[in-house]
């Protein structure tokens, strides 16, 4: 713990120190220096620092990709009830926007089913609309992709493309009501300020969205704060959507435009095979035509053991206190079970209710081992619809989404 804090202070020192010296070179204070994209700071100054430092992320985040940046959180770093900003995973599709100015940021609302086209400044969003705050789970649709066989394309996420933080902002519903929505509205589609990796200025990186019914929920936010602070740039500063329980790609980042559509939104990565699974289950490796792929909506029931880290060695007779979180997309987790014999027997353990709808739920258990040897502690969550996590990797799909197989940690008990 102390080491982590030291590291954090060190990183903070490096960042502020760098920006301060950079600022003194310019002869002025760098306003919002904290939010300058790291790739804008001369690389000569920063070349000795790692990506996690540049993005203000915990040094133990796993770097899957650096162009675009994709960072995964190891399971044991997700032990906090509310995920701290530096432990929140990063999933970028393109290059992060540069020179963001929150003071002049404007959100445009348009689309066939919009009563009018309006522009709302971020300042007005903050001042004129009611503020709401919820703890919301954001999980990447491809979390767990690395277990599919045959392998699925894309960033090979393991366990930790998931977070549950305190998001604060305005209800998307309030903004849509202020704009006015026609009766034929079907979907909202977002646009962000990130840029395509190819460098083509007019190519949209990703533009997804949700059906109107999800857009109008109480917890569907246009958020400008994460855990009471401005959102880290890598997670969408200064304004992003948050749709708890749905694939993270619906929760667009750096949002500057929302279209109210009279049909299912058709932006990049809405169609084809992106964020879609076969409408009917297919055999592993089967080719699936685009027209047989259906858009993912609610994420499946899932859980993580966040304490202890896998690999714990215990003394004979020592009990193990485990902790973790469980979530179930739009649903509620109603049962949590633990097994130390590969699912031959399960022991139920209490799971707390969520602090609000679409927040993850915490569980604890004390595990005793009958004799020495190698064990795996498996955790299984079930939703209030009676659906449980599978012990094997569930239905194969071409892009490797929705792996909600049980999490397990390795434990050894000494003789």
């Amino acid at each position: 713990m102390a080491k982590n804090r030291r590291n954090q202070q060190r990183r903070e020192f490096i960042r502020t120190g760098l920006l301060a010296s950079f600022g003194s070179l310019l002869g002025m204070e760098l306003v919002y220096g904290k939010y300058i994209p790291s790739d804008l700071i001369p690389l000569e100054i920063l070349s000795s620092n790692s990506i996690s430092e540049l993005l203000d992320k915990h040094p133990e985040l796993i770097e899957l990709n650096d162009r675009p940046w994709n960072l995964e959180t190891p399971a044991h770093l997700l032990n906090d009830d509310v995920t701290p900003a530096d432990k929140m995973f990063v999933r970028n599709n393109g290059s992060m926007p540069q020179n963001i100015d929150a003071d002049t940021w404007v959100l445009r609302i348009d689309g066939e089913s919009s009563e009018r086209e309006v522009q709302i400044s971020l300042r007005d969003l903050k001042e004129k609309f009611k503020r709401h705050s919820y703890q919301l789970v954001i999980e990447c649709g491809g979390n767990g992709r690395n277990e599919f066989n045959p392998p699925a394309k894309g960033n090979q996420w393991g366990l930790g493309a998931v977070s549950c933080a305190q998001w604060t902002g305005v209800r998307l519903r309030d903004v849509l009501e202020y704009t006015g929505m026609k009766d034929d509205a079907v979907y909202i589609g977002y646009y962000g300020a990130d840029t395509h990796l190819s460098g083509k200025k007019d190519q949209v990186v990703i533009s997804r969205g949700v059906p109107i019914r999800k857009a109008l929920e109480d917890e569907s936010l246009l958020a400008y704060e994460l855990n009471g602070h401005p959102i880290p740039i890598a997670n969408g500063f200064p304004l992003r959507l948050v749709f708890g329980g749905w694939p993270g790609s619906t929760s667009g980042k750096w949002i500057n435009r929302i279209s109210i559509r009279n049909k299912v939104h058709d932006g990049p990565k809405m169609g084809g095979q992106s964020y879609r699974v076969p409408c009917e289950e297919v055999a592993p490796g089967e080719q699936v035509p685009d027209e047989n792929m259906c858009i993912i909506e609610s994420m499946p029931v899932k859980s993580l053991i966040t304490y202890p880290r896998t690999g714990a060695i215990l003394n004979s007779g020592q009990s193990l206190a485990i902790r973790g979180h469980a979530w179930a997309g739009d649903d509620l987790v109603s049962k949590m079970e633990i097994s130390i014999d590969y699912g031959q027997s399960w022991k139920e353990t209490p799971v707390l209710p969520p602090v609000n709808r679409l927040a993850w739920q915490h569980f604890k258990a004390t595990v005793d081992f009958p004799k020495s040897g190698y064990y795996e502690v498996w955790a299984k969550a079930s939703s209030d619809r009676g659906i449980s996590q599978p012990m094997v990797v569930p239905g194969w799909n071409p892009k490797g989404y929705l792996n909600n197989a049980c999490h397990r940690i390795a434990v050894k008990v000494r003789p």
Partner: protein
């Protein structure tokens, strides 16, 4: 009051000071502008050009700049693939030749990848041989476990 204004000599020099300040500011501005915009392209590309490992090139059979296995036609792959995305995206994926071909097709149809022409076969050969699929069943054993003592007090 016959006293001479003590600031008078300084105020005489004022235009010179102002000129000096303007020149310095312009010069700094030029330096900063060059630092940001010195080369055509984008911030992210710059990061690759300024890779701190530059010069080390290949270590343990891996091309450090791209993260790709430095064997066969890897330079062809580096040239055609890493202008747009990190080599890490390639290295973490596994696919058969047909699987890699479909990814290339998808990039050509939606992401602006150019026609690879006669290089396509060589690129596919490299990708399949270096990053081909592994048989892993429905659930792998837990691997690379970092064992540690868990104190009862924790």
């Amino acid at each position: 009051m016959n006293h001479q204004d003590p600031l008078k000599p300084i105020s005489k020099l004022m235009p010179l000071f102002i000129l000096l300040a303007i020149t310095t500011t312009l010069l700094f501005g030029l330096v900063i502008y060059t630092a940001f915009h010195g080369e055509p392209g984008f911030g992210n590309n710059k990061a690759i050009k300024n890779n701190p490992h530059k010069g080390l090139e290949i270590v343990d059979g891996v091309d450090l700049e791209s993260g790709l296995l430095a064997t066969g036609d890897y330079e062809l792959v580096k040239r055609n693939c890493t202008p747009c995305h990190s080599g890490k995206l390639i290295a973490q994926n596994r696919a058969s030749k047909e699987g890699w071909r479909s990814m290339i097709n998808w990039m050509q149809e939606t992401q602006g990848l150019w026609d690879l022409g006669q290089n396509e076969e060589a690129i596919l050969e490299y990708l399949e041989s270096c990053y081909g699929p592994e048989k892993m069943g429905r659930r792998k054993n837990l691997e690379n476990i970092d064992w540690y003592e868990l104190n009862p007090g924790n």
